[in-house]
């Protein structure tokens, strides 16, 4: 698109609808970050389409002054695929949560990732069902007490980034609701990525699962429980960056080591390395820090671009309806 895009601000992307999340919900911070990021993307506002399923996060499109389609539980990736197939020029955003995206809509998540449809998925992971009033979700930690698991949940949780990688995702990142700068940079990178940009956003639900990410969110604690993955840089963490991640070549498992005197053992993040991404995505407390940042990025042709190229090739000579109706064997009756 070569047309001049008028200079827009955050306000141009805020709709006139009253925001109705609970006070203190992490979704407010995410909304602000995305509204602020929009002008920076320098794309026509009318080309932005936000598609969501059902859940607290899925109210998001109503608050964006763009095109928005609030669909049905779990199906946003399928609807978004249809939007993008109909008009490749559009910037399509899927807003989903852990229940919407990985429970009822798990199948669509799998397939949008493997197809590498050119769109962005923002997964608001609060490890709980909020809108239905607090049941445990497929990302809830075992033992989560909830109305549907009064004695604590028994299910083993899944790790969204690991599943997304396993499904063939080409861009996998993780960030935090209230870390505006980090989140903005990661989402911007996901938008620039050709293909499905998958961003897991750790989001606090102050009502039903308050503080579940406290270790990675709290300024002090996070120094020991969070590691930022930056392509080409060492994986260091701790107040004085005194700790580092290394790969034990015998067990093929990650380990935490002291960064001092271990320079040659410290892993350098390489976002093009799928195996490393899998190991980083799987890291979790208390023995490991949680990795945030762009964990994986792979240049690969997209389903939508390949479809468009195929259509253009097929349509070099456009179809003729009369010719179609008369194709094959016909006969005359006089």
């Amino acid at each position: 698109m070569n047309q001049a895009i008028p200079a827009l601000t955050l306000k141009d992307f805020a709709s006139d609808q009253e925001v109705r999340w609970c006070p203190g919900c992490g979704d407010y911070a995410i909304l602000k970050t995305i509204q602020k990021l929009m002008p920076e993307l320098n794309r026509p506002r009318e080309n932005q389409v936000f598609v969501s399923g059902i859940g607290c996060s899925s109210r998001f499109p109503y608050y964006m002054n763009t095109f928005g389609f609030h669909t049905i539980h779990g199906r946003a990736p399928a609807v978004a695929t249809g939007v993008k197939l109909a008009n490749e020029e559009l910037d399509v955003w899927v807003i989903t949560g852990d229940g919407d995206g990985f429970s009822i809509g798990g199948n669509h998540m799998l397939h949008v990732l493997r197809r590498n449809v050119d769109l962005q998925i923002l997964l608001f992971n609060n490890e709980i069902y909020g809108l239905t009033k607090g049941q445990y979700s497929p990302t809830s930690q075992p033992g989560t007490r909830s109305p549907s698991s009064p004695e604590g949940s028994i299910d083993a949780p899944l790790s969204p980034c690991e599943v997304a990688l396993g499904a063939g995702g080409t861009f996998i990142a993780r960030s935090i609701d209230t870390e505006a700068k980090h989140l903005s940079a990661v989402v911007k990178a996901s938008h620039a990525h050709k293909g499905t940009g998958f961003v897991e956003i750790l989001q606090n639900c102050p009502i039903y699962n308050d503080g579940v990410f406290e270790q990675v969110k709290d300024k002090k604690l996070a120094q020991d429980f969070r590691v930022e993955a930056v392509h080409g840089e060492q994986l260091l963490f701790g107040k004085e960056k005194e700790k580092a991640i290394t790969l034990n070549r015998d067990t093929l498992a990650l380990e935490v080591i002291e960064s001092a005197n271990n320079a040659d053992r410290i892993l350098v993040h390489n976002e093009t390395n799928r195996v490393l991404a899998q190991l980083l995505a799987a890291m979790s407390g208390p023995d490991f820090p949680v990795a945030v940042g762009v964990l994986y990025s792979e240049a690969k042709s997209t389903f939508t671009a390949d479809t468009e190229a195929h259509l253009q090739q097929v349509r070099r000579s456009s179809g003729n309806l009369k010719g179609l109706l008369h194709s094959g064997h016909t006969w005359q009756v006089k």
């Binding site: 000579s317 179809g319 109706l325 064997h329 006969w331 009756v333």
Partner: protein, 639 residues
């Protein structure tokens, strides 16, 4: 009423000239019966007979050789008058093995002709067909004219010069048989020879062997000393309107109708579907037609298919999805979103036997209730049904028109019979089609997604990419005035009424119901919808020939119903509704119009026979007195 059957007793190959004939080719899945049938159909169309065909496949992809459940058949009914079904009883049965004989012989009219490959009646094959003794030798087929030829042996000698292996040579058996049947009915072999040459262009020796087999079969008829009563039959040409004709299956007609619809609407179409029998062929046909304004998307499941179609509609294209019963059930929530968000969407349901997996390859009309009511909430959508293979073309265009004009999901009902059956189609003049180009809303001044057309009640269609049209819609109830989320009680009442009135209003935009055979009032009307058209039509025609006061009304628009349908049906003393379900449409007619519609119901996975409907007509007419009294009583209740 109870299903009974009368033998029509019309077709006997007694004379040298016959009005019409039913031939069924039956053999093993690997015997090439569908190819044989298609070639015979082509030759018959060219000859000038009217015709109708019905392929009957087994559910198994590759059943064990010789098994009864692996029998594949192709039936053709052709004649000098209008032919609208694939026929009741068979006049000629071609049985390539004992399994084909045992599964089909009961449909052969007494005295009919059965052609068998005696070479395939081995002890092993007889056992597989569960014959205790050879039916060709124990007198059990004595009621029929039997032409048993060792076709295998004949074929092996005919194709010997081409140096094929034993197995490849035997594959030419179907062409030998086709040659013999072509001789029997004086058909031209030239188009078959040409199509064989085209089909095997890269293997000329295979083409030549098949042609040699075809000619040898024909020559056998000419030269062999055949039993008495087996000779060339003449079937006079049908009187049909002048024009250019082709054969068309329901699936092809439906696909081409969708393509025509998108051209007339001047809009791109996304056809999103998931494979399911018997609907998949529609996906296959359209996947091959992307030079038109259609793109196909094989989704990960039925739900994704309807959702992707809806995403395309949101983006300004027309979304279409397709499935059979179980898949349509999965799409229900998506359809309701389409109705709530008021987006155009076409859902094609190629019905099959249910419930659950049911009879995937067999036909039924049992999804009518699901089409009309199968969604949560008060969610009316228009429902229309095609009646013949060629009719699928017109109905598909109509579904597209209604979906776009009224911004609503539309369900199009076809079925397994229509999908696979074929009939000659007078190709319409595509230049005379009336276009209905889509105008996406593009005026930013005071734009709201809730702006409506006062006549149609359809809301505007504004698409992404258009400046100033930014808006949000979804499944949550929307304000009538602004289109924003609204939980207001009065607004929900208003929107529910609106959705109801919008669909109801379509009745003013569809033709009044016509009587397709007979008169506008009388003693008995037979009311049908969908693929029962052909059998009802033939039965009513025969009854009228007998002088009975019977008419045929065939309903295309099932929701909303044509505005005059109630009054029209009240003009008849009795209403008979044959359906391939347990009475879904007859109950609808009763509840809508408080008329004593009586169902004639069949759920055997097979289409109605003409004789079944004719028997019901005879019974109705003979019971006239009783039923008229009942009718009077119910009219009093109604008033």
């Amino acid at each position: 009423m109870e299903l009974a059957e009368e033998e029509l007793g019309e077709h006997h190959l007694d004379e040298k000239e016959v009005v019409d004939v039913v031939v069924r080719f039956a053999g093993d899945s690997g015997d090439g019966m569908q190819l044989t049938g298609n070639n015979f159909t082509q030759a018959t169309a060219l000859y000038g007979n009217d015709l109708s065909t019905f392929p009957d496949f087994p559910a198994e992809i590759r059943a064990p050789i010789g098994a009864t459940f692996g029998v594949s058949a192709f039936q053709i009914y052709f004649g000098a008058e209008d032919v609208t079904t694939a026929g009741d009883e068979l006049d000629v049965l071609v049985a390539m093995n004992p399994a084909a004989l045992v599964t089909n012989i009961h449909n052969l009219v007494e005295g009919g002709l059965v052609i068998v490959d005696s070479g395939a009646f081995t002890a092993k094959n007889l056992t597989k067909a569960k014959y205790a003794s050879n039916p060709l030798e124990d007198g059990s087929v004595a009621r029929y004219r039997v032409l048993d030829v060792d076709i295998s042996k004949q074929v092996l000698s005919a194709v010997e010069p081409f140096g094929l292996g034993h197995k490849a040579a035997l594959r030419c058996k179907n062409m030998w048989t086709l040659g013999l049947v072509m001789w029997l009915f004086d058909r031209d072999r030239a188009p078959t020879i040409e199509s064989l040459k085209a089909k095997f262009a890269s293997k000329p020796e295979i083409a030549e062997a098949n042609i040699a087999a075809l000619n040898a079969g024909h020559a056998y008829g000419d030269t062999a000393e055949l039993p008495v009563g087996i000779h060339v039959y003449k079937v006079p040409k049908a009187k049909v309107a002048p024009g250019t004709y082709r054969n068309i299956t329901g699936t092809t007609a439906l696909a081409w109708g969708l393509i025509a619809g998108s051209e007339l609407a001047d809009i791109d179409m996304l056809f999103a579907s998931y494979p399911i029998t018997p609907a998949s062929n529609l996906l296959h046909e359209l996947a091959n037609r992307k030079q038109f304004r259609v793109n196909t998307f094989q989704a990960e499941d039925e739900i994704a298919a309807v959702c992707a179609a809806m995403g395309a509609s949101f983006a300004g294209s027309l979304g279409v999805t397709s499935s059979a019963g179980p898949g349509i059930a999965l799409k229900a929530e998506g359809m309701a979103l389409g109705a709530a968000s008021e987006l155009p969407l076409v859902i094609v349901n190629t019905q099959r036997g249910g419930p659950s997996t049911g009879l995937p390859t067999k036909t039924e009309q049992s999804d009518l209730n699901m089409a009309l009511y199968g969604r949560h909430g008060d969610t009316p959508i228009p429902v229309i049904a095609s009646s013949t293979p060629a009719d699928c073309f017109d109905v598909a265009i109509e579904a597209v028109r209604i979906a776009i004009k009224y911004m609503t999901p539309v369900m199009l009902l076809s079925d397994g019979y229509l999908a696979n059956a074929a009939e000659p189609w007078k190709i319409p003049d595509s230049e005379k089609f009336e276009p209905f180009p889509v105008q996406h809303y593009a005026d930013p001044a005071g734009f709201k997604p809730s702006i409506r057309n006062d006549d149609t009640l359809a809301r505007v269609w504004a698409k992404p990419g258009m400046p100033g049209m930014e808006h949000r819609i979804g499944g949550i109830e929307r304000s009538f005035d602004t289109g924003d989320i609204s939980y207001d009680p009065a607004n929900h009442q208003k929107m529910t009424d609106l959705r109801h009135d919008k669909v109801k209003g379509i009745a003013n935009d569809i033709p009044e119901q016509e009587v397709c055979l007979g008169s506008g009032s009388g003693k008995l009307v037979v009311v049908g919808w969908g693929s029962t058209f052909g059998a009802i039509h033939q039965a009513v025609k025969r009854a009228r020939r007998e002088g009975l006061d019977v008419s045929h009304v065939h309903v295309r628009y099932l929701s909303p119903l044509p505005r005059n349908l109630g009054d029209l049906l009240r003009g008849f003393d009795q209403v008979l509704v044959p359906e391939m379900n347990t009475g879904q449409f007859s109950r609808l007619l009763r509840s809508e119009y408080l008329i004593p519609a009586d169902g004639l119901n069949k759920v055997a996975g097979q289409p109605f026979k003409i004789g079944e409907i004719l028997a019901a007509i005879h019974q109705k007419i003979s019971n006239q007195g009783v039923d008229t009294e009942q009718l009077g009583a119910s009219r009093e209740v109604a008033s």
